[in-house]
Amino acid sequence: MSFQVHSQDFIARSRDALADAPLQSALGKLRMGLSVRRREAVAALPEFEALREEAAALRDYTLATLDRQLETFEAQVRARGGEVHWAPDAASARAIILELCQRYGAKKVLKGKSMVTEELELNEHLEAHGLRCVETDLGEYIVQLRRERPSHIVAPAIHLRKEDVAESFAAHHVGREHADRSTAEALMAEAREELRAHFLSAEVGITGANFAIAETGSTVIVTNEGNGDLTQSLPKVHIAVTGIEKVVPTLEDASTLLRVLARSATGQEASVYTTFSTGPRRPEDPDGPEAYHVVLVDNGRSAMLGTEFEAMLRCIRCGACLNHCPVYGQVGGHAYGSVYPGPMGAVLTPQLAGLDDTVHLPTASTFCGACEAVCPVKIPLPSLLRRWRQRAYDARLDGDRARWLLRLWAFFAARPRLYHPLLSAATMMLGWLAGPGGSFRRLLGGKAWTESRNFPAPEGGSFLAGLQGEEFAPTPRKAPSR
């Protein structure tokens, strides 16, 4: 498998992230922003819960009939003059896309925002073969200048402040020594000017697709800037790259999903641009690409069908689980060391990269359930994370120490005659050592707790050991006299 991860270092990366003051300032805004906007958008749509049910059922139906939907999609794209390419894995996807770029003599490639091409590490591959790739989504453009990875699947540069962006522009934009970079608007205007030249000179535009509609053979992109639209309409060739699970049966189904997508992602009723691409330009069309290609990427997805992880394929990449995850909110996307961070990434990444190097991802969750509560397609994320933990436990990938402690505790918990006297004696001693209301600053073997927390001492003695009797009669309190 070619999916690169750096998730082995989650602990070190998360500590670095927590100590990174600019990152923390950027994340603070995220924690307060997107979740509030989602809540307001949901409150304004009484049928939102019913829509989630509908969306989940629709995704399940699509997955159950995936082969048929994909075949219909392919036939419809062909009928409208487009081409469909099937990529079983990342290497074949990269090869197909490179070959297409070479076929059309491309030197410069525009990129619309696309997580699947991040998954494929497409830019690196194309650039290694002499092509210039230009990201046109503002966030992606910034991240590309900085030679970083997106830290969020919807908002790639959410880890950066505007000062960081100004610094990157100053370092990379030639001939703008005196540019005003004090406001977000000024930065956006500068990026727009820089990008404009690229829009007019690229031969190929590559976008992702939020949905691929089987009935019409269309790909759909949902954006707020419109640069994705320029990417797929100005160059003479449009290549849409998407995962095989993104297909939906009908236009009507796509609109059902669109209703939950934007609200979940950014709290908008609809994104600023929702654009449908259907085939190449027809003679009567005023504009559009001369050639239209769709690359359908499997890369581990079909292997999830029929498994306990199938529900993950419902995902429509809205990012709501990231926006509401308290762990993501503290450490940001880069700490996860995977293209897909946060709860959805913690389920998906072990599937794509194997569990050996990614065991921290399903473990680094409190199972607080906020992700599942907001997921527009009701993916039971904590339950799927728990299944990865079961696989990790079975494969002995969890730490030896944790395993040994768990075993020891389980041994006693199964033996009440040992458990109760020992618990009572231990808590009696700790309670006595600390005194009433006391706490410990250090505990033998308890550094992981006490390095940054006191341990409030037990009161002393256990409840059950101190209890007389097993059955207790009611003691109704007399109603207070008035």
């Binding site: 602990i11 924690r31 389980a410 409030p456 109704p476």
Partner: protein, 247 residues
């Protein structure tokens, strides 16, 4: 009603006052209460660590310890949530699945039970006291416990000031808090800042795990909030509160 009290291992070992309060409140609410002496732990640490065999063994022990009662009542949303999951722990093929489903269906978080099954009004101990309530994740999102603890506190005369982050995870998360202590504590700090912003002196909640974690962090930060399990506030409790303030 004949109910059984599932004490929870944290309450049993760390804070017997909460167990005593649970027992007293259920009796006051008119219940005959059995406290099975053999009970230890619901098995959640094993279940959430991926150790299915141990989780199953302890699930069967819970079935045995809590057979033959009308309701199992738990002073913890987290452990009550675990009992609700026992059918999943045993799996669809298990011969005792039916028993697990029946037990899950009659298991209640205690504040939910006192309000919605007993319509209980506690003694008026709270006059003039202000506090804020931390919603524990399992209680809130697995069981839908939101208004019950607040109803009990208000009936007892306490004045609640809500914090903005009441529903955000505090970072305890069982073994998470020792596997990822830095992240865990960062989450606690955000929670505590939100609690301090209310200006009240006391944080309460329905899960001891969260409270021990928050109180330990507050004490280390030498800040002054105190912490009590919600049940401690509904009966006279001589034990000092958790945290540095402990009035």
């Amino acid at each position: 009603m004949r109910v059984a009290l599932l004490v929870s291992c944290l309450v049993d070992g760390l804070r017997p006052s909460v167990g005593a309060a649970a027992l007293a409140l259920l009796r006051e609410a008119g219940c005959t209460v059995r406290v099975p002496r053999q009970q230890t732990c619901c098995g959640q640490p094993a279940w959430n660590s991926g150790d299915r065999a141990t989780a199953q063994a302890l699930a069967l022990k819970v079935l045995q310890d809590f057979a033959d009662v009308e309701a199992v009542v738990v002073p913890s949303g987290s452990c009550a949530g675990m009992v609700r999951q026992l059918p999943e722990v045993l799996g669809p093929e298990h011969p005792r699945l039916g028993e697990a489903e029946a037990l899950a269906a009659r298991c209640f978080e205690i504040t939910d039970f006192l309000v919605n099954q007993c319509d209980f009004t506690p003694a008026p101990l709270g006059a003039g006291q202000t506090l804020t309530y931390h919603d524990s994740c399992a209680g809130l999102r697995e069981l839908g416990v939101k208004s019950a603890p607040r109803t009990l506190l208000e009936r007892a005369g306490y004045t609640l000031t809500e914090m903005t982050q009441a529903e955000t995870c505090c970072g305890f998360g069982g073994t998470f808090c020792v596997k990822y202590p830095a992240v865990s504590v960062a989450m606690a700090d955000e929670k505590l800042a939100s609690a301090r912003a209310t200006g009240v002196p006391l944080v309460t909640g329905g899960d001891l795990g969260c409270l021990i974690h928050l109180a330990g962090r507050e004490e280390r930060a030498e800040a002054g909030l105190s912490f009590r399990h919600v049940l401690e506030l509904l009966v006279p409790t001589p034990a000092p509160a958790l945290g540095a303030g402990h009035p």
